[in-house]
């Protein structure tokens, strides 16, 4: 970070004529720099998540001998894969929040020290959790595996974070974006608590598991996403704030209206009352509407008169987020959300396909949008190699699309052979083998794309040539 600061100083000296009217100062508030370490660690954890994912892909595509399976069970690595996902995305959101809040509230973060303490708390929890899994220290609930003592560290870390952000907002300017962001973060933290207790009844256990997982990704995280996207939209396009805020309210209203009752689509087959089939089906069928609104809104912004896109790279990722959200969460979610279809596809590779496309399209790309907006500024890089950055976008996005579609094909085979014909699980899996190999190939491509992006974002030097204000 010190290096970045030095670099920025040199740049400012080298091009003093650019520092006019305060507009060209890359990072207006010193405390925004906290975000740097959040982003770098998040990116590194994403790399780790994909490497673990590679092993999972191999385990699907090939036979792993019994002695290796005994020493390194699939379940252990799968726990790492999903926990790394949650950890890097939460760190990304938090870093994004720390970067965004000072500019919105127009003041420094309440306490930079607390921001670092909180980062250490989360990263330490993550490391202990991952090592702990290897020694069987687990709660055994998918995604929420980390044992109760670590849950408390997470809660304390989250409280520090919320306190720090809230104090900054209270003492500073209050905007709609900040309100939405803070609301989403409080909601996110509150929901986590429902996943902590031991429930005797399995049905109740899963009922509240979805309070965390569904209401995170289709509730709290949507609020955080909408706020971050609105911030980037204002910065990159220069569109009038009032217009962006209006759409922020309408879109999040639709997200929550459909998403809250839409939780019911997870309660079809768990031993809950049949009313959920109706409510879950109807509301979750509407869940695609706010995403369509988001895509239309993004393109409408771009076509507005007088709008000049100031950063092609960030804009590519922002549009990618909207479109990826629509494909992964909207279309692939809608495809199997109705009870009549879900009866056959529930808990198959169709779900895995939807999970990968939705998490990448909606949340990985959102994080990358923010990373690409902030990282060059934090490193004092005035001009990034846009061609390389945008190639990174396409390699990653197409790889995930290929991987997701291959999983979907495998899922359709599974649905037909296992669920419709009633053949054994392994008979179905044998017929899906080819597609698991396809998934593996796309997984390798994804890793290449991510490593390229990682390099561009964290290490690459400034691109030669004049800084282009417009593209």
């Amino acid at each position: 970070m010190a290096e970045a600061a030095v670099l920025q100083t040199t740049m400012t000296e080298a091009a003093p004529e650019k520092v006019t009217g305060g507009e060209e100062v890359l990072v207006p508030y010193a405390s925004q720099r906290v975000a740097y370490w959040y982003f770098v660690i998040a990116l590194a954890l994403f790399v780790l998540q994909l490497l673990v994912g590679l092993w999972l892909g191999i385990s699907y595509a090939f036979t792993i001998p019994q002695n290796i399976v005994d020493a390194l069970p699939f379940g252990l690595t799968r726990a790492m894969h999903t926990n790394l996902l949650v950890l890097w995305m939460l760190l990304g959101f938090m870093g994004g929040t720390y970067y965004l809040v000072p500019e919105e509230a127009e003041r420094e973060i309440y306490s930079v020290k607390l921001a670092y303490i909180q980062l250490v708390a989360f990263v330490a929890t993550g490391v202990i959790a991952l090592v702990g899994f290897a020694f069987g220290w687990t709660q055994g609930k998918p995604i929420l595996e980390i044992p109760t003592p670590l849950d408390f560290v997470v809660v304390i870390g989250a409280l520090i974070f919320l306190f720090n952000v809230a104090m900054t907002v209270i003492k500073g300017k209050k905007t709609a974006i900040l309100g939405m962001l803070l609301g989403g973060l409080v909601f996110l933290a509150l929901l986590y608590i429902f996943g902590m207790p031991f429930y005797r009844n399995l049905t109740i256990d899963w009922f509240y598991w979805w309070w965390v997982v569904h209401l995170w990704v289709e509730g709290a995280w949507e609020l955080v996403t909408a706020a971050i996207l609105a911030f980037v939209l204002i910065k990159v396009t220069g569109v009038d704030r009032r217009v962006v805020e209006k759409y922020l309210y309408i879109e999040t209203a639709l997200f929550l209206f459909t998403g809250l009752a839409g939780t019911g689509h997870h309660y079809y087959w768990i031993g809950a009352p049949s009313t959920w089939l109706w409510i879950g089906g109807i509301f979750s069928a509407m869940e695609v509407l706010p995403i369509i609104a988001m895509v239309i809104d993004t393109f409408r912004t771009q076509r507005q008169k007088g709008v000049v896109i100031k950063d092609k790279v960030v804009w590519t990722f922002a549009v990618g987020t909207a479109v990826g959200h629509l494909i992964g969460a909207g279309v692939f979610g809608f495809a199997h959300t109705l009870p009549q279809i879900n009866y056959f596809t529930h808990g198959s590779q169709v779900t895995a396909s939807h999970g990968h496309l939705a998490f990448f399209g909606a949340y990985a790309l959102l994080n990358f949008t923010m990373f690409w907006y902030a990282m060059p500024k934090l490193r004092g890089v005035r001009k990034v190699d846009a061609t390389a950055a945008i190639s990174g976008f396409w390699i990653m996005s197409l790889a995930v699309l290929g991987l997701g579609v291959a999983m979907a094909v495998a899922g359709i085979i599974q649905t037909y052979v296992e669920r419709v014909l009633g053949q054994g699980f392994m008979v179905a899996q044998a017929n899906m083998q080819f597609w698991f190999k396809v998934v593996l190939v796309f997984g390798v491509v994804l890793i290449v794309g991510l490593l390229m992006t990682f390099w561009q974002m964290v290490f690459a030097k400034e691109a030669p040539g004049e800084q282009e204000a417009t593209v």
Binding site: G75, L202, I204, L260, Y268, F283, Y343, M426
Partner: protein, 232 residues
């Protein structure tokens, strides 16, 4: 101001959906005991649930369709392979899946843990969950299995086979793959030997890893023996 209106729309939409959601949550708590046979939720079942979590079972298997898709769903596994079958699989996966292209790790489960786990899975299999999953739905699958077993409506042996054996064994490609396919078993054993095998597998084949089927009646064993002896 326009944005004030937008904010009220936001509030109204969110609160409506939240009210529906919380109302149904209350209703779920009201009905869940009846739907899940909570009166049968014994300490042993809870102990089994703890084994399920301790051994990370849910990180390969799905239950109620949730979890990971690497291994079969276990919601109705107790109906498929019963207590003895479950114990056999978790205690000796390296034997059961010797020829499978996907393996299950030996997680060092004790005899007691296996028994508790089976009790938990038996309780789970009786949750009233709208007859999911389809592959274990008796209503949906009986037609396909009847075809596979050559008309269970006509032969008692085929019906008993469908009821007791098809969780692990298959005929004509339909059925489980934990035990060998029995399409040509009649060429190896006669009816009486099959019946004896079911009661005490090692009495016929000392190498056998199949658990003794203590819950199958003597009449059913003879009927299955006659049915399987014809498969050659």
């Amino acid at each position: 101001m326009v944005n004030k209106k937008a904010f009220y729309i936001f509030l109204a939409g969110t609160l409506t959906s939240l009210a529906i959601f919380l109302g149904l949550t209350w209703d779920t708590h009201r009905q869940v005991d009846a739907l899940t046979n909570a009166d049968k939720l014994s300490e042993q079942v809870v102990a089994g649930k703890r084994v399920w979590e301790k051994k990370n079972c849910n990180l390969c298997h799905t239950i109620l369709g949730f979890g990971v898709y690497y291994a079969p769903d276990v919601t109705k596994v107790h109906k498929r392979i019963g207590t003895e079958g479950i114990k056999q699989v978790v205690l000796q996966p390296e034997v059961v899946f010797k020829d499978s292209f996907r393996k299950m790790p030996n997680l060092g489960v004790t005899e007691q843990e296996a028994t508790d786990l089976a009790a938990f899975l038996e309780w789970v299999s009786k949750i009233d969950n709208h007859d999911w999953p389809p592959q274990d739905s008796e209503e949906r699958m009986s037609a396909a299995e009847r075809r596979a077993t050559g008309g269970a409506g006509l032969s008692r042996g085929a019906a008993a086979f469908q009821q007791n054996c098809i969780g692990c064994h298959s005929i004509g490609g339909a059925g489980g793959s934990i035990g060998p396919a029995l399409d040509t078993i009649g060429a190896t054993y006669d009816a009486a030997t099959v019946a004896a095998y079911i009661a005490e597998p090692t009495s016929v084949d000392p190498q056998s890893t199949m658990p003794p089927q203590t819950t199958v009646s003597d009449d059913d064993r003879s009927a299955i023996g006659e049915f399987l002896a014809k498969q050659q």
